[in-house]
């Protein structure tokens, strides 16, 4: 069967798996942003923690994804459900680019701008929201972009531990020795990564324009 025919014949399943994949990526990225951006902001206030936090993140990223899934399996509550486990692992992977870029973006705000802002009487919160975050937004989004693309890729491995997603097609195709099935998983996953990269790239560019 040619690939296009296969895709049409298995339309519903492809939609289901794609939906599961988007789910895994979406929740993980939301968590990574919700934790990573504040963490990056914290680091910009207390640089002494930089080596500890960025170091820990680095270690997390160095562990091969399949190994990380395996390491988390025995944990109570987390290990009981494969999707929880996958989401935790994916979030941990996505954290480093987000935290690092948030920190770099904020630390990269021009010193005179920061000095002037403080001297004019902006509170710490006003400084963060009116000056630091807007000026760092381009770099932060770049970090989110990197993290998202990584997450889409690692999420294909999540199927190996039963979390579903497009990886399931890939593993199944390997078991069946059927190229169509493999591609039915691999191509959408690749397209998803490319689209995410493209869309976030557009957002990045529009931020540059607004903030000159």
């Amino acid at each position: 069967m040619a690939l296009p025919d296969f895709i049409v014949a298995h339309k519903r399943e492809m939609l289901t798996l794609t939906g599961e994949h988007l789910w895994l990526v979406g929740v993980s990225m939301l968590l990574a942003i919700a934790i990573g951006v504040p963490l990056g902001i914290f680091l910009s206030r207390r640089p002494a923690w930089k080596s500890l936090i960025l170091g820990a993140n680095n270690i997390m990223q160095t562990i091969p994804s399949l190994a990380l899934f395996g390491l988390l399996l025995p944990l109570p509550w987390i290990g009981a459900r494969a999707d929880r486990l996958a989401i935790l692992a994916l979030t941990l992977y996505a954290l480093l680019p987000v935290v690092r870029n948030t920190y770099t973006g904020i630390a990269g705000v021009d010193a005179p701008v920061r000095e002037a802002a403080i001297a004019m009487g902006l509170t710490q919160r006003q400084l963060l929201w009116q000056v630091e975050l807007p000026l760092a937004s381009n770099v932060i989004v770049a970090g989110i972009r990197t993290a998202t693309v990584i997450t889409v890729g690692v999420a294909t491995i999540a199927a190996a531990i039963g979390a579903g997603g497009l990886g399931e097609f890939i593993f199944r195709g390997l078991a069946m020795v059927d190229n169509n099935v493999i591609l039915a998983g691999a191509i959408p996953a690749a397209l998803m990564a490319l689209s995410a990269d493209f869309v976030l790239g557009l957002i990045q560019r529009s931020l540059v324009r607004t903030h000159h």
């Binding site: 920061r114 002037a116 000159h212």
Partner: protein
């Protein structure tokens, strides 16, 4: 005894960093209301540090700094800073705000009504010689160095503070633009009647713009002089400045 006509007062102020490096020691200085006081000195003399003690960007290690009769340690630091205008050499304009929004910053923070803010922005841009219609929508990267400094000055004046702190604001400009702005500043001085503390290492600028000159060297105040006194002074710390000044005058004269 403290001087009640003093807008700003330093009483035995010492500033140390890292526990043992002393940047300022035993500073006693009064800034009179409505005067323009120049803080003159070489790099490392402590003049910028002194300036930053006024709006508490830095906190003194010993002694008191009084603004409007109250110690800066007692003031709510945010209120203190909003009460004082601040202009620096790099201008420090927010790159993501246009001129209008940069200038309107403190009035907005102080929650003025929109109409009052709009009027004030116009007024203050006018004061610094930048027509509103031409400049309000421009972004800092679309301005020349001189224009950026003017916007910085406008921003510092926007909330109509009684005190203005200026840290070598014209230092990075080319001589022609610098001259123009200095001249405009002199005119502004007369209209605005604010208390200005102005840091500079340029003796010509100090003589031209200042009502009094406070000479600093190695973290100590060497003396406070009227411009004419300064030129006549035989004080050891002043002499190098006078000869440098005379020398530059001679070069100009010989070239004429």
């Amino acid at each position: 005894m403290t001087d009640s006509s003093a807008a700003i007062e330093f009483v035995d102020v010492t500033y140390r960093i890292n526990g043992n490096r002393t940047l300022i020691s035993g500073l006693n200085l009064s800034v009179r209301r409505g005067e323009t006081l120049m803080l003159l000195g070489r790099s490392g003399s402590g003049k910028t540090t002194t300036l930053k003690l006024i709006n508490r960007l830095l906190a003194q290690s010993a002694g008191k700094v009084l603004v409007d009769g109250r110690s800066t340690a007692v003031w709510d630091v945010i209120r203190l800073r909003r009460h004082i205008g601040y202009a620096i050499q790099e201008a420090g304009l927010f790159p993501h705000y246009n001129v209008q929004n940069n200038v309107a910053l403190v009035p907005r923070l102080e929650r003025w009504e929109a109409a009052r803010i709009a009027a004030r922005v116009r007024e203050v841009l006018q004061l610094v010689g930048l027509p509103y219609d031409e400049f309000a929508d421009r972004y800092p990267d679309q301005l020349s160095g001189g224009q950026r400094q003017r916007v910085g000055l406008a921003r510092a004046l926007a909330a109509d503070p009684q005190i203005l702190l200026m840290d070598e604001p014209f230092g990075a400009l080319d001589p022609i633009t610098r001259g123009e702005i200095q001249h405009e500043f002199m005119q502004l001085k007369k209209t605005l009647q604010k208390t200005v503390v102005f840091v500079t290492h340029d003796v010509a600028e100090a003589l031209m713009l200042g009502d009094r000159i406070a000479l600093m060297d190695s973290g100590k105040l060497k003396g406070v002089f009227l411009p004419a006194e300064f030129l006549r002074s035989t004080d050891d710390s002043v002499l190098p400045y006078i000869s440098a000044f005379r020398a530059s005058q001679q070069i100009l004269n010989s070239g004429a």
